[in-house]
């Protein structure tokens, strides 16, 4: 069985970026830098399709799922 870590690791990275952007977004909102808020919102939204894409690419890589043993 060949393991594939690329999907898991990159999705973790994406989620981490999501958390960081969210934090920055909320802070910038209260600092009233509304343009930066929109920028971070865009980043967060664009990260989701990227995550979905990686998932679709990675779903069948690596070993078989244990349910189908």
């Amino acid at each position: 069985m060949k393991r594939s870590y690329f999907g898991v690791i990159s999705l973790c990275a994406i989620l981490f970026m999501d958390i960081v952007f969210m934090q920055l977004l909320v802070h910038q909102y209260f600092h009233q830098n509304y343009k930066i808020v929109l920028l971070f919102m865009f980043c967060n939204i664009i990260l989701f399709p990227i995550a979905l894409y990686i998932y679709k690419q990675e779903i069948n890589k690596g070993g078989q799922s244990h349910e189908k043993k």
């Binding site: 999705l11 989701f48 995550a51 799922s65 349910e67």
Partner: protein
């Protein structure tokens, strides 16, 4: 006809193969990735309301003018004392402090950490948040100690014919 009795059905050749949930409590790589993608989706959706509010602010609704509001008569607030009031709406509590004979400052007193009300402590000449001991500089509203990182929003006040009026909320300069 094939006799299925005592035989495992062929893979996916039936409608019940997914009832086999022997491993439903274990998380495989695929399930984990699915969770991650779902969480990313939640973040994407959760950032929408903030963006909407920000866009609203950008589209001219910003720098709102509120009707000026009388806070207190000068005779009712001694030098060094404070009064609480609400501005611009009745849900935004604020505090007015008379620092000198003719110097008034006012801030929205929801702590910039977790929104506890901030009080003026006369003896310490500081604004103190009781929740996690955040402290704010009374001259500028900047946080000086504790968890808060952002200044309290300042309210511009005016003195007119022996009363103090709240005029508007000052925007951050950055």
């Amino acid at each position: 006809m094939t006799d299925w009795n005592n035989n495992l059905p062929k893979n996916d050749d039936n409608y019940t193969h997914n009832i086999n949930r022997n491993n439903e409590r274990s998380l495989d790589r695929r399930g984990f990735m699915k969770t991650l993608v779902g969480a990313a989706g939640v973040f994407a959706v959760a950032s929408l309301p903030w963006g909407t509010l920000a866009a609203k602010e950008l589209m001219g609704l910003s720098d709102k003018e509120y009707p000026r509001q009388k806070i207190v008569d000068i005779t009712n607030i001694a030098v060094g004392d404070s009064v609480e009031f609400h501005f611009p709406s009745e849900h935004d509590s604020a505090v007015l402090i008379r620092l000198k004979e003719n110097k008034f400052v006012a801030y929205q007193n929801a702590c910039t950490h977790l929104r506890c009300p901030v009080y003026w402590v006369k003896d310490q000449q500081e604004m103190v948040c009781p929740c996690h001991h955040g402290k704010f500089d009374v001259q500028t509203g900047e946080p000086t100690a504790g968890p808060p990182r952002r200044a309290l929003p300042e309210i511009i006040v005016e003195v007119e014919s022996n009363s103090v009026y709240a005029v508007r909320v000052k925007r951050y300069e950055t």
